[in-house]
């Protein structure tokens, strides 16, 4: 049943490692694409599109050599030599690439000039700008490679961890990786925001913005893929350390599902509105106007029969109607920005936008608070937040209640529509009952049934095989403080239900007082 660690670890390793490296390389290429777009906008004659592809290769090279470099001691001469050689080769390759792009003939022109002044003619401004970008990519790759190595581990590291029982905190490494992704993403999004502002200021399309946006979206889409892959890496290491056999095709499926997930997400994002022409306040005032119009209409419909009756009575006496029927015009929603036929469409679009936007914000805050319980607890001490939380809980509880009642009403209606199907006991209990019309015996039974129903709603349901006394004992175990009330109520119920003894009104009132106390205890138990 248990397999040795290396064989477990090797499963899916190659594919995940390859995918991780590829995604990081593409992400960084996208991020550099944004920088290049920005550079091209700021320095119009400069064209740096080739840098994106070259940086992609640099990132791949850097990640591949990272594992070799790890085997050398930190700050050792070997490591310095290794890195220096790597950099020199990269710089030479970049120089050759520039000559390849600008024309090889330029190389023959420049070679004699290098002998005159090497620094000036070799390190040209264009070359230096490219070198800065490449160095940036190369350095950032180091961070990514570091985090990925920490997440993925290798056989030797895992065996060490298993033997020493000193495990790496991989989720922390993953968090750092996410922070790095967000930091880079934030910077390039800010740059694109700047370009978008420029475009609005100029009033003409900026081609660099479109290209940069494509890179930006690519970066974030790939970052989601990387998050997915790193999650797999964390899980894979966990399974290896726990010696849990993993299905060999899991990595391929994970990758496929990640891509499918991304496509589905892309589809969803495309469908969601990203523009609005009507502001939030305008939308709110329109909605308010509609609500008022609806209320007016309702008032009109309610008063209409009375008005008609009065006018008919007035006709009987041959007098003109003392009341002239009011023609209440429903209030119209306030005029929109564009009064044309398309304005409603715009209005709806804007409504959808604000709904989605506010929903997103609320969900993000809700999710964050769900994840940070300590923050939630701290916020509860602030009166404003506590009041908001109470309001929200009340509103949510009311909405749930309304929902439950609606569902129950619809189900009951459907059951009534289906002939021959007897109504269930639940429907009977939920029917409106006037206590005043019930006899004392029926009231006792009613309160006991209410206890059973409320107990069920609070997670203490009465089992079909439970006798009232057994149920009473079960309730007493969960509701300390009202044991005697539960016991007395059960006794009263047994007497009312199964005996011919007379049940007086004061006894029914006594049972009601038991029930009130039990109800409070049930509520208190729910809050705890």
């Amino acid at each position: 049943m248990t397999e040795n660690l290396p064989s477990l670890f090797r499963r899916n390793e190659r594919l995940t490692s390859l995918a991780n490296h590829l995604v990081v390389a593409l992400m960084l290429a996208c991020a550099l694409g944004v920088l290049v777009a920005m550079g091209e906008y700021l320095l119009p004659p400069w064209k740096g599109g080739y840098l994106v592809g070259f940086c992609f290769l640099i990132v791949i090279e850097s990640m591949v050599t990272y594992r070799q470099a790890r085997q050398l001691d930190s700050f050792s001469p070997e490591l310095l030599m290794f890195r220096a050689a790597e950099l020199v080769v990269i710089l030479i390759l970049f120089k050759l690439l520039l000559y390849f792009i600008n024309g090889v003939s330029q190389l023959w022109i420049d070679i004699p000039l290098w002998r005159v002044n090497f620094l000036e003619y070799f390190f040209t401004y264009g070359y230096l700008a490219g070198v800065v970008v490449i160095f940036l990519a190369w350095s950032v790759t180091g961070y990514f490679a570091d985090y990925l190595f920490e997440l993925e581990g290798d056989e030797r590291l895992l065996i060490q961890e298993r033997e020493s029982w000193l495990y790496q905190v991989r989720p922390a490494a993953r968090r750092s990786l996410v922070n790095l992704i967000l930091l880079i993403g934030g910077v390039i999004a800010f740059l694109m925001g700047f370009l978008a502002l420029e475009q609005r200021r100029l009033g003409v399309p900026v081609p660099e913005l479109q290209r940069g946006l494509a890179y930006l979206l690519g970066y974030f889409a790939l970052s989601l893929v990387l998050l997915s892959l790193t999650q797999f890496a964390v899980l894979r290491v966990h399974w290896s350390l726990e010696r849990i056999p993993v299905s060999p095709n899991l990595a391929a499926r994970w990758l496929a599902y990640s891509l499918g997930f991304l496509l589905a997400l892309g589809g969803l994002v495309i469908l969601l509105p990203t523009q609005y022409s009507v502001g939030l306040l305008d939308i709110l005032s329109s909605l308010f106007g509609m609500l008022l119009a609806l209320l007016n209409l309702l008032a009109f419909l309610i008063t209409l029969p009375f008005i008609l009756i009065i006018s008919l009575l007035a006709r009987l006496f041959g007098k003109p109607s003392p009341v002239t029927p009011l023609t209440i015009k429903p209030a119209q929603p306030p005029a929109l920005l564009n009064a044309g036929g398309a304005s409603w469409l715009e209005w709806l679009k804007s409504l959808a936008f604000w709904l989605v936007f506010i929903g997103v914000i609320v969900y993000a805050v809700y999710y964050y608070l769900q994840q940070h319980s300590e923050l939630r607890e701290r916020l509860r001490h602030f009166p404003l937040f506590a009041a908001l939380a109470t309001l929200w809980e009340g509103l949510w509880g009311w909405l749930r209640g309304v929902n439950q009642n609606l569902v129950a009403a619809v189900q009951a209606g459907l059951r009534r529509l289906r002939p021959g199907e007897p109504a269930s006991a639940t429907d009977q209990s939920r029917r409106f009952v006037s206590l005043r019309r019930l006899s004392p015996r029926q009231r006792v039974v009613f309160f006991y049934m209410a206890l059973v129903r409320r107990g069920g709603e609070h997670g203490l349901p009465r089992q079909p095989a439970q006798t009232p006394y057994e149920y009473s004992r079960a309730l007493q175990d969960h509701l300390p403080g009202v044991e005697s009330d539960i016991s007395s109520m059960t006794d009263e119920f047994m007497e009312a239900r199964y005996s011919q003894h007379e049940i007086t009104a004061p006894r029914a009132s006594l049972v009601q007082s038991y029930w009130e106390r039990i109800k409070r205890a049930l509520r208190a138990a729910l809050k705890q």
Partner: protein, 395 residues
Amino acid sequence: MSDFFLPFLILLAFVAVILRADFVLTLIYLFVGAFALGRWWSRRALRSVSFRREFNQRAFLGEKVEVCLEVHNTSWLPVVWLELRENLPTGLGLSGAFERVISLGPGARHSFHYALEGRRRGYYEIGPLNLYSGDLLGVAGNLQLSHPPDHLTVYPKIIPLNSVKLPSRSPMGTLRHTQPVFEDPSRVRGKRDYVPGDSLRRVDWKATAAAGRLLVRLFEPSIALETAIFLNLNNAEYDRRAHFVATELAIVVAASLANWVIGQRQAVGLLSNGIDPLQGDLQPQSLMPRRGRGNLMRILELLARLQAGETVPLVDLLRREVVNLSWGTTLLMITPNLDEALYEGLFQAQRAGLDIVLLPCGPVSGIQVAQRRAEYFGFGFCQIFTEKDLDLWRR
């Protein structure tokens, strides 16, 4: 996931509103959508995973039990990863748990097989099966779903016995006997000439007419061996150093004797002060003497489940149950404790018409005194130290 995630989103949201930049809003949708969709997917997919566990729930000692676990994704959403952890008890060959990680496509089924071996008698819990899953991005945290356990009963060891000599005073049974007082009128053995004093009811009139002289029927004596096995599993009455071995030996002896009695087509019952995990209390377990294989299986199942513990003394059980036993029942007392109180209880039982056989299991202090006392009262006595001592009844 990240401490900067919410600030990042809020920043993007404000940038989107102020700049009216569509792309920023698209980014927000991308991230929030990824999180919301991931959470929804993983929760919904895990809820749609159903499971089935199939195995033979009863096994004899040493028998292999194949367990088949089948998980089925009933949803159209795939389950990206699913970690199964089936908790298993020790003593069944596999230690700890059966664990696997798989991915389940839409509507896919996956079966796992593993084998357990009944190495020790017992009532084992197979499971619960814990299913762990999560989303692709790791935002939903690990989700867990538990499925209830099943139970496997491993019967105790049964040693086949051939010639157990147990006393009985129940007439009209199916077992041959030597004492003519237990003659069974339904079992005619032969005929002989009439001698004065023979009951006229014994005269075989047809044979008399044919032979021309008075002939009487001879009947075979027979007994019914209704047996009640009293099994002591009160730890306090066992020697502390050997109580585990001795109680297990006692259970083997009880199972073997019950098997033999049922093999003789006689009624057997089991009364024990051991703890039955199914009952969950310290009440003694009583299966009154009955015939048939079904009763044997019930006894074996109870013996599989019973555990020794701090329970009521055997003599209390004896006093309580002896009144429910019919006259002539043979009591097999499997106990290491042969004290004064027990003898007193047994003597009362003997006076009530029951036959007693003492079967002390494991090390017993003062065994010779106990044996002499048993002989004095006319109780059967057979000490069993190890399973090999049962060879006496295998010849």
